[in-house]
Symmetry: C2
Subunit: 334 residues, 2 copies
């Protein structure tokens, strides 16, 4: 761990077809190194854009930074020295099962990057539901003036399924507006923003209390289809649903049925099955529903720089030989 | 001013055709009296629903509480003893000119009631524009998946035209999210929430700085058409417009042109010309625009009780012979 130690070989592989928002350009990398000079001095880094760039670098690389979809197309690969893959995305469900991972190599996500932006989006969605904006948008499509009133959110109940970084920032805002917050997580570990925490097994007992249900949980075998038709029926008919997790956490068809029938108040969704939504999907025209095209947590201005900051934080732990804060538990999938 | 003083005759006139949200029912009145027992003891109150009820009461009434549209249909009337009309609305532009007002009678609005609800709505609209929700709603109508990203609002510039109760609550929230706030008002009196205050005469100089323009000013001869075609052209092409004031503050046709042409980023509007919007209005289908049917500041659960609290606060000043906090300056119109 002396400055004269042999530098670690890092390869950064971009996916040119992906939105430029997610590209690690030379400039963005240099800026990140300037923010973390001591750690950057320990690295010998290459940035690749083509499959050939990857081929050339991976046999010697000890660290890899790449985007989800790039990882999916690059592996399996001969990467005998690889010890750490950092993915610039929080939800790695699209990379499961993880049998492609080289032996002894840790897989890391960029959890923590999305919090501030996602927190604003989550609060926006709550306020939109409180103010009946999905209903008004439906009436706008029908060219009908229908004076239906919303209400302040103070005292209303926000139920958060998943209480990680994205939810935590939303919860902070919701508390500032006087909301009551119930958290649902894998284990009943307390969460400082939540008035109450229950485990996923107790979801049915708290769903009827919620004015808003916010989904930010990872998609795993345990959460696939979690918000089923039966659970939607447990919600208040005035309640609103917000999905910032993954489309498959919800029975999408049952949700559309409930919204069209008016047995659920409204929904603001950022994630769907499938993505992109095909033109023939019923989701586009479902009543009392407003959609965003899977953009809630991403801030183009800050996304990639913040991701690299998370990488450097984990690199410090890696160099110190300690556990990596962003390492995925491959059995749980997050 | 002793308890044995002759009670003041108060008449409360409802408009049965108006939304029940705005009705002062017996129960709501009794609850309000219970919150202000000393003041209520000074009153001899009647509640009317029909024109006959009004006729019967008004010749003796010293105080009148009524809804905007009721006032419009009830006057001129023989009301020789009337000293105070309290309207359960903040914008009294629809009652101008005020030549119908009995001589020596003060006209009061319910300014102060709308703040908390309007503040949540204003922040919602800012976050919707930051997250491109009007754009996404346009794409939803077109059934097109178009991954366009929004951004966090920290550091962005909110320009508030009008810095009364509605704006002040929005400004408090915007500041909590790290926004920079410029206020525009009639006179350059400082406003504690604004980083900078300019007068309406300097509007053109600050419009190009704004990421969001929030309109909450009263509609007066000075503000009619204030956001003209020329001023819309001064705004950033990425900027968003929020109108919670009155439709006629904006050149609505010019706004629709700018939104359809993409020379303005988006708009979230609660007020229009005319209201209700007729089915043939181009507003319904204008791109990058989401609308609400003039409901932003009204909270059915709290609106009428809070209005009556404002009435009682003014009643206390009236009994003490002092100036009335909610009295309209008839020359300015607010």
């Amino acid at each position: 761990m002396t400055p004269s130690a042999k530098p670690l070989r890092l390869h950064i592989q971009n996916l040119p077809s992906e939105n430029p928002v997610f590209h690690v350009t030379d400039q963005i990398w240099r800026d990140a190194c300037a923010r973390h000079p001591a750690l950057a001095a320990r690295l010998d880094a290459t940035i690749g854009w083509t499959p050939e760039d990857f081929e050339r670098a991976i046999s010697q690389a000890e660290l890899l930074v790449t985007w989800t979809m790039a990882a999916k197309t690059l592996f399996p690969a001969k990467a005998p020295k690889l010890r750490l893959i950092f993915i610039t995305s929080a939800g790695l469900d699209r990379l499961a099962p993880y049998d492609w991972l080289p032996p002894g190599c840790a897989l890391l996500n960029n959890s923590g990057v999305h919090g501030p932006k996602a927190g604003e989006w989550g609060l926006m969605a709550i306020l939109m539901l409180a103010n009946r904006m999905p209903f008004h948008a439906t009436r706008q499509r029908e060219k009908r003036w229908d004076k239906v009133y919303g209400s302040s959110v103070a005292g209303q109940v926000l139920l958060c399924v998943g209480v990680g970084g994205m939810a935590t920032h939303t919860i902070d805002h919701a508390r500032a507006f006087g909301m009551h917050v119930i958290g649902v997580r894998h284990s009943p570990t307390p969460h400082e923003g939540c008035h109450r925490i229950v485990t996923t097994a107790d979801l049915d007992s708290v769903l009827p209390e919620a004015d808003y249900v916010l989904l930010t949980c990872p998609l795993t075998p345990a959460t696939r289809g979690l918000v089923s038709r039966a659970r939607l029926a447990l919600m208040k008919p005035t309640a609103g649903l917000i999905n910032m997790a993954r489309g498959a956490v919800v029975d999408q068809d049952a949700l559309c049925d409930a919204l069209d029938a008016g047995t659920l108040g409204g929904a603001v969704l950022d994630v769907f099955v499938p993505e992109p939504l095909p033109p023939e999907s019923r989701v586009w025209t479902t009543r009392n529903l407003l959609i965003a095209p899977h953009v809630s947590a991403d801030d183009p201005l800050t996304y990639t720089p913040r991701s690299l900051d998370v990488f450097f934080r984990n690199l410090a732990h890696h160099l110190a030989g300690g556990p990596l804060p962003n390492a995925i538990d491959l059995a749980r999938g997050y």
